[in-house]
């Protein structure tokens, strides 16, 4: 499975360690909430609301360099808008992978 990385943030930060730490702190704080909100909406059979969550999470997917994950998330977002949830398992696997990576980032 495709693995997340911090290449984009490292390049953006350059030598700015303060920014890098700040960004990772925000990521660690924001991502679990977005993931939870998505799962709640999915479990409560609210696919349109879940599609908005996927849209928002897509940015983090791309920031973490998950190119294939981004493409799959885009398809899933479209499907959710039509009420189709068949890609849920695949997307949740991407989220779990990101979650594990984010939790283990050391600044």
């Amino acid at each position: 499975m495709e693995q997340p990385n911090l290449n984009y943030i490292v390049e953006l930060a350059g030598n700015d360690k303060v920014f890098k730490k700040k960004f990772i702190d925000i990521l660690k704080c924001e991502f679990p909430n977005e993931k939870k909100e998505f799962l709640d909406n999915l479990n409560n059979n609210m696919p349109r609301a879940a599609s908005l969550n996927v849209h928002k999470i897509k940015h983090k997917i791309s920031v973490l360099g998950l190119e294939h994950g981004y493409e799959r998330a885009s398809v899933f977002e479209e499907e959710l808008r039509d009420g189709i949830t068949s890609m849920a398992e695949e997307f949740i696997a991407i989220l779990e992978c990101m979650d594990h990576f984010i939790k283990n980032i050391k600044v």
Partner: protein, 236 residues
């Protein structure tokens, strides 16, 4: 140049703020997680540029663009490139950045904004050049800025979501409102005489009770606008 960042996602705001720090003479003076908060700020603060996310819950970036009067320059930021065409229909939207935004692409967008501001406020030009540019109006058609010399304008007519600018040579169709273009025109030369028409005062041929002849076109005068028209005439 100062700017604000509007995005409901904190990581996205942090990235744009970091990108701003890589550009000389660009200060971030506010960050907001909703378009409504951004509008409240703009109501009492002059801002040159807004970095605006499109997808936000409740009040979207597009709602924001449509709501603002005298909008500052706007650079849209989004994960969805499909909105690009719609976004360019708005006069204040200068560029469109797809996330994740690269430093190079970001700097290009800021450069476009600076060029756009210089077109309207030629602050670094000499006096003669400034006077010339005051006579020019730039309109955005199909992502091209087309220059119109103000004296060549005969009539501007509102047509739904568009306006038609009739000049000596042609007619330009632009997606904007009469109110917006009126703010760009010299007050002493142009006058709104009807809710759908602005005329170039210098191009009046004659005036009847309820109409004005501009070149060969008869333009109605509304009752409410007639007193201002009469006041401006040099009556014998």
């Amino acid at each position: 140049m100062n700017c604000i960042i509007i995005d409901d996602e904190a990581t996205a705001r942090a990235i744009v703020a970091q990108l701003c720090s890589s550009v000389d003479d660009l200060q971030v003076v506010g960050e907001f997680d909703s378009a409504i908060e951004g509008i409240k700020f703009l109501n009492h603060q002059d801002i040159d540029l807004v970095f605006l996310d499109i997808h936000m819950p409740g009040f979207s970036g597009i709602d924001f663009v449509q709501t603002l009067q005298n909008a500052p320059k706007i650079v849209l930021t989004t994960s969805d490139p499909n909105f690009a065409i719609e976004a360019y229909e708005y006069e204040s939207v200068i560029d469109y950045l797809v996330k994740p935004i690269t430093t190079e692409r970001f700097k290009k967008a800021v450069k476009k904004v600076r060029n756009s501001i210089r077109t309207i406020h030629p602050g670094n030009s000499d006096q003669g050049e400034q006077e010339n540019r005051k006579n020019d109006l730039y309109i955005n058609i199909d992502r091209r800025l087309i220059k119109i010399e103000m004296p060549s304008i005969q009539v501007i007519e509102a047509k739904g979501d568009y306006i038609e600018i009739k000049t000596d040579d042609t007619v330009h169709r632009v997606h904007t409102t009469l109110k917006k273009i009126r703010e760009k025109l010299p007050e002493q030369q142009f006058l709104q005489i009807h809710r759908s028409f602005i005329i170039n005062f210098d191009r009046i041929v004659d005036i009847e009770d309820n109409s004005v002849l501009i070149e060969k076109q008869v333009i109605p005068i509304s009752r409410s606008n007639r007193p201002e028209l009469m006041r401006r005439l040099n009556l014998l």
